[in-house]
Symmetry: none
Subunit: 260 residues, 2 copies
DNA sequence: GGCAGATTGCGCAAAATCGTGCGCGCCTTG
DNA sequence: CAAGGCGCGCACGATTTTGCGCAATCTGCC
């Protein structure tokens, strides 16, 4: 603790914010008083810092101090709120593609979760490593659920890793429904989390038909890793008005583009 | 456990709520008085906390205290009530066998679930296809969870099938903890559900040490399918007084028998 | 059905915490 | 070198939380 107290000279606000966040992540909830002593500034300053960091969404303010943003209720609660209407419409349309008795693969992410919500009471086999989908359908007697193994990633409510890939090589589905972080103008499907890319590829291989769900905000969009090209897709469901350049590239690759 | 009692100084409300929930998940129902003493606040404060947490659906308020929300609507709640004390004692003893940092395999069934309840806050890797174990530990940051894939069997809260077996061939654990429907006098481990037998065998293969948890009602006992013989076991944990014939057979096969 | 003991909800006062205005010192800018 | 901007500490009223006492309610038992 004296490693901080020794820093009496001068601490940039930026640096101080980093230290606050690090403390929170390392030791969980921390009080204003503790932080003030540790960083050698007044409680008023800490309060101002906390207000600002809270506004930036980097932590969550609580009475008496603050907690790490990750520590609060799942980050999906907020993420799931943006573009809800669009995603719901997409999900509705996607559900119509599915015939009773089929086996479908559902991707990781909130998009697939939205789709799962439309599947209650349907007679289907759902294969997924998406734990939100599992939670959604686990009490639904009609739906057979196949959960793919893997290492639990709590922040993403999913299972990933080589076990998941192994399982995917052993199963086959009529359709796979994929989400994405963005589709580039040429029709390349991108993602931001590298660990999911091999999984998405394995899902594409395991399914007869590949359906991509991408709301209009993803057109055009980007990500750090390429998942697949337009030639791997069969259907893309998006909102109107979709980006014309991207749509053209997709149609060129004989992808059916559905605008809802 | 004294980790709580030591916290007499000052605790953020947020932190206190976390501790209450963790206590409930780890030790089941808790009284207002106990919680108040343990957290160093008045009973009135605990009551207010419980009311709030109940309103948020994070626990269920009962007269005299509270129980974990997951514990209430579980159809296994009844099954889990029989021989609770015995199974708890067994689980407690089994948890002592585990060292921090280890990777352990947990069987399907309520026995393994009881053990999982003793693992909150431990630094471990838990591998399982037992969904009760997953529910129990999914919010515990310390525990890494590896879920084995498979077809959801709702009535047993578990995943089974060839996917599970495939995954088991790809993993290795320091110890596996098995439950059973009964142990025959000769030391043969039995089970009633045939579909689980290949899984239990695969788990035995995947672990360095095999630990069987069997309360005294299982000695001697029976089942329709044989899982393994005494030569596959390393440790058996049971209640005193255990059946002497069976114990002798186990010791003959160099199995360590722990009576609690 | 009634009784003793425990538990609960509620009002109120004390304590802790919060937000804010003000002044001071440091750095930037012209 | 002077003016202005900015971050920081201090102090004070407002808000929230906490602890305690008491009447109403509930549970277990005879």
């Amino acid at each position: 603790m004296s490693e901080f107290a020794a820093t009496v000279i001068r601490v940039l606000p930026q640096r101080r914010h980093e230290l606050i966040l690090r403390t929170l992540r390392a030791e969980g909830p921390a009080g204003v008083q503790v932080l003030a002593e540790r960083l050698g500034v007044s409680q008023a300053t800490i309060r101002r810092d906390l207000v600002q960091l809270d506004k930036e969404g980097r932590l969550t303010r609580v009475y008496g101090g603050a907690v790490s943003a990750a520590d609060t209720d799942d980050p999906f609660a907020e993420v799931a709120m943006v573009r809800v209407d669009e995603k719901d419409a997409l999900a509705e349309r996607a559900a119509e593609l599915i015939k009773d008795g089929e086996a479908i693969l559902l991707d990781i992410g909130t998009t697939a979760h939205r789709l799962a919500r439309k599947l209650h009471g349907r007679s289907l086999t759902v294969i997924t490593s998406n734990l939100m989908v599992y939670e959604e359908l686990k009490d639904d007697q009609e739906v057979q659920i196949v959960l793919l193994g893997g290492v639990l990633r709590r922040t993403y409510h999913s299972l990933v890793g080589f076990l998941t890939e192994d399982n995917l090589r052993q199963v086959h589905a009529d359709r796979v429904f994929l989400g994405t972080s963005g589709v580039r103008p040429g029709g390349q499907v991108m993602d931001t989390t590298a660990v999911e890319v091999p999984l998405k590829r394995a899902m594409i291989t395991a399914a007869d038909q590949v359906v991509l769900l991408a709301d209009v905000g993803k057109f055009p969009g980007t990500g750090i890793a390429r998942v697949c090209g337009p030639e791997d897709l069969d259907v893309v469901i998006t909102n109107a008005p979709a980006d014309e350049t991207t749509c053209a590239a997709l149609r060129q690759a004989e992808v059916e583009v559905i605008e809802v």
